[in-house]
């Protein structure tokens, strides 16, 4: 069989996927680019060409810079916490103790819980009048009066980050655990004979095995955290006083609440560009860490 025919056949088998992807991703993306240069509304006529006005207005607005800071805070803190707690949990699950298999099975629960259910659950826990958190902290005499955890700008973002971490650290733990179990036993044994302490053993013997899978988890989680919408929409809708408004929430408000499709599109593309830059930077890092591990 000739290789040209093999390649042609492969393209033919790819064709349905590519056609659908162009229809539901390619065309909308190109259309978003077109829209971003107009003052189009969500409904009605096409709008007029306004050049880079939307981009200029968006980038210079205080809404944008504040939202960018909020998004970065959310992404950096929750992903960092998920990584640290996830690795600690994996190290624990790699020890021998009674009920280890059950605990490992339980780790899948938060991950399997739908994001909206997780958000709703934590919203109930944080409820200012009847929430479990207020009740528990009061009964333990840690606070005197019930607080509105999601209603105060000072605590809302932290409360969201806790809810996001709880759902996502178990996945990091399971990925790290799978990597830990690939560490050859004779290597850890040899490091013990050589007198390596627990910290050095983790840093120089175990961590190199974790680096690759953890970098991938880090990349994926960061991209997701940067695009975050669901959990925030359900818990706070970006409030109070816009203190938890992330970039995706801002785009939603601009394009759908205020029906300004043109400027919403420009903002969506700015977000896309930021995520792409992040991903490319990370990809370079992953390649570097994979190279040093090999």
């Amino acid at each position: 069989m000739s290789s040209t025919w093999m390649t042609t056949r492969a393209w033919l088998l790819m064709l349905p996927l590519l056609v659908v992807m162009v229809a539901v991703i390619g065309w909308p993306l190109v259309d978003t680019v077109g829209l971003s240069f107009t003052d189009a509304k969500l409904v009605g006529t096409g709008g007029n060409f306004v050049g880079f006005d939307n981009y200029a207005n968006m980038l210079s607005s205080s809404n944008f810079s504040r939202t960018l800071v909020t998004t970065t805070l959310f992404a950096v803190i929750s992903v960092a916490a998920e990584m640290v707690i996830g690795v600690l949990a994996a190290l624990l699950l790699n020890q021998q103790f009674h009920g280890r298999a059950i605990l490992r099975a339980l780790m899948i629960l938060p991950w399997a819980l739908p994001t909206v259910v997780n958000a709703t659950l934590w919203r109930l826990i944080y409820n200012p009048e009847y929430g479990a958190l207020n009740a528990a902290l009061t009964q333990l005499h840690l606070i005197d009066a019930y607080r509105s955890w999601l209603g105060e700008p000072g605590t809302a973002l932290a409360a969201l980050i806790v809810a996001d971490c709880w759902k996502n650290f178990p996945l990091v733990a399971l990925i790290a655990l799978a990597a830990l179990q690939a560490v050859p036993r004779d290597i850890t044994a040899a490091s013990l004979v050589d007198g390596a302490g627990p910290f050095n053993r983790f840093r120089f013997v175990i961590l190199p095995y974790l680096a690759g899978p953890l970098m991938v988890a880090l990349v994926l989680r960061t991209i997701e955290a940067f695009k975050v919408f669901d959990i925030i929409w359900v818990m706070t809708r970006g409030g109070p006083a816009n203190s938890t408004r992330t970039l995706s929430i801002l785009v939603y408000q601009e394009a759908f609440s205020f029906q300004r499709a043109g400027s919403g599109a420009s903002l969506a593309l700015i977000v896309t560009l930021l995520v792409t830059v992040l991903a490319v930077a990370y990809a370079a890092l992953v390649r570097k860490s994979a190279g040093s591990a090999a």
Partner: protein
């Protein structure tokens, strides 16, 4: 081997208990809220354990009496099932041939890389044209329209899983069948696809989980019981004027049940699916 001091053993068990509590407490509380009488949930100090288990909310939500909370819930449950089912079938129909083609013909691998790179796109970057397009086609607030949009998420992911699955099936087996005179499609049907059945099942379950979990597009593109999904129905409940928090919790338990069961049963396959991608990534 490493010596384990008794203190270390106690420390490990204490940490394990703490981890179990962190994982279980919120989930247990969701269930307890769903069966606690409303008075218990509004009591101060809060009653952590219901005086009597009250399962009436489950009955209420699963009833189909007209204009009840149950009617809205059961219709969203049906919509979620329909949309997840259709989107998963369509995604697999696209992913199986494409995944096999890329696996056997690395020269076209770059096209799959491009498809997978779309993962970086925030849904908001596609939302406005998709909204206008669906509206133009009369597919807003329609289960078919939403299932079509879900392919943006499901198809790249399932293709990538299928490709890794086919990679682990040696092409020599296919070559041997061909030498014995089997045609390409006969070979795929008799040899390759049965061997790939476990990967197909894993891909299908991942796809169902992704569709079941989706919220953003469902929020934008649906407006009433004809197409609203479970995630939107729950967000409506949580954000609305429902005074019985137990009812919201009950909806949460019911919506979480299918993915949690899938997660527990498929634990091993799901994790190896995730980590194989992770290691190869």
């Amino acid at each position: 081997m490493e010596r384990k001091s008794p203190a270390f053993t106690i420390f490990v068990h204490a940490c394990a208990l703490l981890l179990a509590a962190i994982i279980l407490a919120p989930i247990a509380w969701l269930f307890i809220m769903s069966i606690s009488p409303a008075a218990d949930l509004a009591a101060k100090p809060l009653r952590w354990w219901p005086q009597s288990a009250d399962f009436s909310r489950y009955q209420q939500l699963l009833s189909t009496a007209e204009n009840s909370a149950g009617a809205a819930f059961t219709s969203s449950l049906r919509n979620s099932l329909e949309i997840a089912g259709m989107a998963t079938l369509a995604a697999l129909a696209l992913a199986i041939p494409a995944g096999w083609a890329v696996s056997r013909t690395p020269a076209i691998g770059w096209s799959l890389s491009m498809v997978i790179a779309t993962y970086m796109l925030p849904p908001v970057a596609l939302a406005v044209p998709l909204y206008m397009g669906l509206s133009h086609l009369g597919l807003l607030n329609n289960v078919f329209g939403l299932a079509l949009v879900y392919l943006t998420i499901l198809a790249p992911f399932t293709t990538w899983l299928m490709k890794s699955g086919f990679d682990s099936i040696p092409r020599e087996i296919e070559a041997a069948a061909m030498i014995d005179g089997a045609g390409l499609f006969q070979t795929l049907r008799i040899i390759t696809l049965p061997l790939a059945a476990p990967v197909m099942a894993t891909s299908a379950l991942f796809a169902v989980l992704l569709a079941w979990d989706e919220f953003f597009y469902a929020l934008l593109f649906t407006s009433d019981q004809r197409a609203k999904t479970l995630t939107v129905a729950i967000a409506d409940l949580a954000g609305g004027r429902v005074s019985d928090y137990g009812l919201i919790a009950t909806a949460g338990v019911l919506a979480a049940l299918p993915p949690v069961l899938i997660g527990l049963v498929m634990q091993r396959a799901l994790i190896s699916g995730l980590t194989s991608g992770g290691v190869k990534g």
